[in-house]
Symmetry: C2
Subunit: 323 residues, 2 copies
Amino acid sequence: MWVVVTTDHPKGPNDYLPFKPPYQLQRSEGPCPFCPGQEAMTPQETFSMRGPDGRWSIRVIPNKFPIFHIEGEFDRRGEGMYDVMEAIGAHEIVIETPDHEQNVAFMEPVQIQKILQAYRERMLDLTQDRRLEQFLIIKNYPGLFNRHPHSHIMAIPVIPRRIDEEIWGILDYAERKERCIFCDIIKEEISDRRRVIVETTHFLIFAPFASRYPFETWIVPKAHCSDFHLIQEEEIVDLSLALPTLFHKFYRLLSDPPYSLVVHTSPVQARFHRQEYHWHIETRLRIGLREGFEWGTGFFVNPTPPEDAAAYLRQIGSSEFGV
Amino acid sequence: MWVVVTTDHPKGPNDYLPFKPPYQLQRSEGPCPFCPGQEAMTPQETFSMRGPDGRWSIRVIPNKFPIFHIEGEFDRRGEGMYDVMEAIGAHEIVIETPDHEQNVAFMEPVQIQKILQAYRERMLDLTQDRRLEQFLIIKNYPGLFNRHPHSHIMAIPVIPRRIDEEIWGILDYAERKERCIFCDIIKEEISDRRRVIVETTHFLIFAPFASRYPFETWIVPKAHCSDFHLIQEEEIVDLSLALPTLFHKFYRLLSDPPYSLVVHTSPVQARFHRQEYHWHIETRLRIGLREGFEWGTGFFVNPTPPEDAAAYLRQIGSSEFGV
């Protein structure tokens, strides 16, 4: 297991005080550095979509305080009895909308399409750097340091344990059954129905059998595909309806809960790329009460069975834009 | 990876609302079921220490809402394409003091000794059940559902991944170097000093090299010993001074932060017991800001280097009872 210790902006005890429980996220009033007109406060953008008037509707920038750095040597060295390694990688921010107060649960599908397209474009570009093996797309809602809607694209030279374990699970299943475990799960869940939250033409949204967290939800493309950045345009359109539907349900069911979303996709470079992988999105609400147990024991305690979670979420209506 | 889904008291969405951010722990006024005079509200105690007047100073009870149950069959079965297993195990609560508003950071060492002795006694007793392989002692401060000071003793028939990985790391190191990695770390840290927070006769308290969390702290006995329940009386006395010292430092440095503490100890039954294991305590402050990343990526992002954390904590004075 590798641990990234960021030493660029080391934080002292006072940095944590604003976040000590009760966790109080400051409601920052715009304009923030992500707002239109403040572009000079951010690094040079790597991607944007603009209207005829030159105004951007979506914008991608390198993170000013990256967890990973693109410069440096990717090698291990000793420090006393310990091994250390530079945190090499790309870390970009997708500014999802010009609107500081927007919420994905109420966002128009056409804007969600742009977000998904931005993810795809940046991945396609960054895969050119052969050092970058694993892509991680992560959204925290609300943002931890800025509530202006944004998400993170990270690309790193190592395969994180969580993805690695998934790959081994997939390969093990494929060897025994000559089938994809995700494709089998989709069939099983569609036939069983109890854990299904939303089914669309191209995606299944369901509460996984062994949900680690209350209201944990997976969004899986029905067609087998190892890589998120190979997503088809019709899948993007479909997903742009499905995602706000789900988040609108969360919003109404649990009074605007904080959540995290992560895109799982195969390692991209030929050496580790796995055709057998099945890309998908996992979401977790940050409403857990048992973090002490999870951390102390390495197992998860979930007091809400996935069948209950799915039933609650099915009953909630969709937004005006939803499926 | 196994997931425990508790179905006895499944929680609906409204159960989470009181805990939605800003996380507001209700300041429950006593008397609560853990307070003196309320003993009839709890299950029959499994251990207590009482004065000549019959009043208890510490009390252990089975958890009324256990994560694990002592009854049932410990076997795996299929459910559709999934495997399931009953959550067999013991789950007891150590009521650490009669005083509802007490805080370990200000507790007298003699009371901490009783807590440590209670852990040891319950472990010695529960190891008689040969199904129980792994003990976990966990304290969340403040308690998630009751702020009356208490901790959890859990004993389960499987070895959690976190402990299993530690064991393999220890065995791998032992095979290559014929030494205990924890004993080597203790030597290295004492000689280096930068990450040491407190050193006592029998224990080293330090910020581990690869701290996963800001202000993560390990408390390791200097003498090699695989099992917490083999702790010596003089070590208990020493630890009863060291623990409040550390928690007093946390209290003053970070304004009474919430924390979790877990005791790591070898699996107990002969089949999996490991003489090579080195029992220790890990503590984590629940002040993390990056939970979305940790969850999404499987790696940890810690913005406070352990050398900084240790330096901050060293500078803070001790309580009147501390070392």
